[in-house]
């Protein structure tokens, strides 16, 4: 079975909708909000009353240009808004104003994935279907909340450059971090300010054609999307292996059951009758706007990961991990800043390894919310580097720090965890261990070097772990004449 299916590779493209965090909506002056009482942020324009006209939100255009710059896209000198026509209660004008044949931006990339296009559009209203069907068909009542109607969106479409669920997740997280770093969106998938659809197809390895694709809609986390995409790749491989065809359809992945459901329905076979929007003039950003967008770019995650790796010598994995989450990057840089002597590579390992792990164990997520300050973590790392505290002791100190925010110096002092750095004292303990374990010492001298472990253990027991294992071994070998 696996022999046959391994001859296929997956081809995945993503469509990401990013809700911009402007003050007001895309084409009217209503405030953006999340979680407010329904239908309080509406006006004749976003309710599609007769006679109203759209006026584009300048800030949304600026945000769109920043995204275009971050994704290194070409910006169209004159991009055009179109009407995308369809009837649905969430669509008050019965057309969505979107960009069609000339998008704001195209031909970019983020990391190894090419960006096909990025364009501006408006969001639809939110619908709630009361009843068991969960859809408008068969619902008892369907309610519409127009607060969301007209929220500015940037839709980013990638080329089909991704090949696995894991890559989808990793790249998705990089994109989210990048947009977040720009400060143009909350990029919260659960609240819907970032929504991701994946187009999945498979093809024989080495072929350049594209197979029939399916579309996976609107997963609310990249982890679920990863699992959904993996499940879909597997499903398509099995279909092809058993001589069946992949049918073009829209799928929903249920993370709790791991199952894929087809969403195909009558509502989907649309002819959107795209037409240039006569109420808007072409969007022609001037040089000043383009320059401002380029100048506004902060250090973006991909660039930061590269800098951490090449300039600070941090391992690629840790560098990427730190870069993708801005709050972790900030924490890490503050740890470095707290003490010049800290080696970046060591600090990175502590931040992404022990510290992140301990936070998770204690049910925390954001390092900025932790009781541990970057300075005190830096302090702990310095103590380990100076051999004042053993690695093992340091982990238990960190556990206390995360739990109650204690100062590492105080914990070490209080618990007597400081390593025996006085060689004279350690030598006396080593000598005593050799004396008290004469037989073992003899074996070691006789060539059984493995037996030295028992002597190390005796010394560690005597010092209650406060000695550095390497130093103990060195002293033992020296004393035994090895």
């Amino acid at each position: 079975m696996s022999g046959a299916t391994d001859e296929f590779e997956a081809v995945i493209g993503l469509e990401i909708h990013v809700q911009l965090s402007t003050e007001t909506k895309m084409f009217c002056g209503c405030r953006l909000s999340f979680g407010d009482e329904p239908n309080v942020h509406t006006c004749p324009i976003c309710l599609g009353h007769p006679g109203v006209l759209p006026v584009p939100n300048r800030r949304a255009i600026e945000y769109g240009l920043q995204i275009a710059a971050a994704l290194e896209c070409d910006v169209a000198p004159r991009s055009i808004f179109h009407r995308k026509n369809y009837f649905y209660p969430d669509n008050p004008k019965a057309y969505q104003i979107s960009q069609f044949d000339i998008p704001l931006a195209s031909n970019g990339h983020l990391g190894e994935v090419r960006i096909h296009r990025a364009h501006l559009e408006e969001d639809a209203a939110k619908m709630i279907h009361v009843g068991t069907s969960g859809r408008i068909q068969g619902s008892d009542t369907s309610l519409v909340d127009f607060n969301r109607a007209g929220t500015p969106l940037v839709e980013i479409v990638t080329e089909p450059d991704l090949t696995s669920g894991a890559q989808v997740r990793e790249w998705g997280q990089l994109l989210r971090a990048t947009v977040k770093q720009l400060g143009v969106s909350n990029v919260n998938m659960e609240e819907g300010s970032l929504r991701c659809d994946a187009n999945v197809s498979i093809r024989p390895v080495g072929s350049s054609g594209l197979g029939t694709k399916t579309e996976m809609k609107n997963m609310n986390s990249f982890r679920y999307l990863e699992r959904g995409v993996e499940a879909e790749i597997e499903r398509q491989k099995q279909l092809v292996a058993s001589g069946e065809r992949v049918v073009q359809e829209t799928l929903h992945f249920d993370p709790s059951s791991g199952e894929l459901h087809s969403l195909r329905s009558k509502e989907e076979s649309h002819d959107y009758r795209y037409m240039p929007e006569p109420d808007l003039v072409p969007l022609a950003p001037d040089t000043a706007m383009l320059d401002a967008a380029a100048a506004s770019l902060p250090e973006l995650p991909a660039a930061r990961a590269e800098r951490y790796h090449s300039e600070l010598g941090i391992q690629e994995g840790a560098a990427r991990l730190l870069s993708v989450e801005t709050e972790w990057a900030a924490f890490f840089e503050d740890v470095l800043g707290s003490d010049e002597s800290i080696e970046p590579r060591v600090a990175a390992n502590w931040v992404t390894g022990e510290f992140a792990g301990e936070l998770r164990r204690q049910g925390e997520q954001d390092p900025a919310d932790s009781r541990v300050s970057p300075k005190s973590l830096g302090n702990l790392v310095s103590m380990v580097s100076a051999n004042r505290v053993s690695h093992g002791s340091a982990k238990s100190v960190l556990e206390r720090m995360v739990a109650d925010g204690s100062d590492p110096e105080a914990i070490v002092r209080e618990q007597g965890l400081e390593q025996i750095s006085d060689t004279g004292e350690l030598q006396r303990i080593v000598d005593a261990a050799i004396e008290g374990n004469a037989k073992v010492a003899e074996q070691v001298r006789g060539g059984n070097e493995k037996a030295i472990g028992a002597l190390v253990g005796a010394v560690m027991k005597e010092t209650r772990g406060r000695a550095d294992g390497g130093e103990v071994t060195r002293l033992l070998r020296q004393s035994l004449g090895l």
Partner: protein, 484 residues
Amino acid sequence: MYSGDLTAATAAETADLIASGELSADECLGTWIDRAAGDELGAYLWRASRDQADAGTAKVGGPPSGVPIAIKDIFCTAGVPTTAASKLLEGYRPPYDATAVTRVRSAGLPMLGKTNMDEFAMGSSNENSAFRPALNPWDTGRVPGGSSGGSAAAVAGGLAPWALGTDTGGSIRQPAALCGIVGLKPTYGSISRYGMIAFASSLDQCGPLTVDVTDAALMLGLLEGRDEMDSTSVGIEGGVTRPQSEDLSGLVFGVPGDLIAEGVDPGVKAAFEATLGKIRDLGGRIEDVRLPHARHGISAYYVLAPAEASTNLSRYDGVRYGNRSPGSNLVDMYEETREQGFGPEVKRRIMLGTYALSSGYYEAYYGRAQRVRTMIVRDFDAAFEAVDFVVTPTSPSVAFELGEKTGDPWAMYLNDLFTVPMSLAGVPAISIPAGLAEPEGGGPGLPVGFQIAAPAFHEQKLLEASFALEGAIGFDGSKVRSGI
């Protein structure tokens, strides 16, 4: 108490009477409210009480403050019924005022009422009103033209001093011509479209229907200007002033002979020729001008306008406002609401437009029509290199009888043959009364309109020439206005 007949005065003259204190604004409003109350032309769909007329009107001094205005029912008026003469919007009261409405009311103009029209401005006879046809005050057996038929009938019949209309393919100029008044379609973009119920957004333009050219200039001055609420509005540089010209010396008037060669009634043709003679008398020159693609204007227009209309009118789905016809499910509700709510001409155009935008047909219809439009724009550009104005009869015929063309959409569409090219080109065009002509089959003379088009944003020049010509023509419609 003012003893004169206000229907014999123009809006500008009335404004001067108020400004000089001879007539109080109150008295003026009372007179016109009474006139409007006697509407037997079906000109109004809604008439204001005295309080309603005044509510929202700024108390400002200076002309034309106090001269009431009738407003086509296509303009949204806050809290006041606005239907676009469609059953679908019967009972709808908009939550806001159109910019044009705000402008006239902040200049101190009370609103007399909302005037009848073809449903969603689709028609050339006002017979497509879902409520009742409007009648031509010159002969109530005939149509006033459309779609701004109610506005034209109100002004020509002495039921309002002046009125607001909208013009997409001739909807101000043609009814003005058929009713013997002045109708001006300004350059696309000179007046905000915000709050004007959209028919074909790239063509719709608001404008005045008035007794004379001076009133048209006065009204245009109030209306024009960039509006933050309309991204396509730019206003008219330098504004508009009261026209003064008395002669046309040095000006060249181009006659597109190939466009008007066929289908023009002899009486209309005679009045047109006579007006060309008046132009020469005033020192103007008449030349032939070619608009080679203008005769395809109607075909392009009847693809583009319905295409835009099909998406503009999609919002009338019964979900948020207007009349909703219940259905057993969502699609049923949409279908029933639109089936019950729209009249036959509106449905025809929605279907035409939907078809023209459908995938697979877009290029052949919408794409091609857009290219024709571009060629017509170039025709006008080239023409205005050679001449100052392009002139035609406004309409190929005088007012026709009610029901005469309702069974033949194409015959009805041909009413717009001479007005549509200017709409497609976006240039300003005015219709002024050029005299009377006997209708086909005989009978008392009916008004003929003379259309003058100018380059984009040259409204002042257009008004000056029209003013001079109007003086020479000396058309008098006051008897019809006073109802004698």
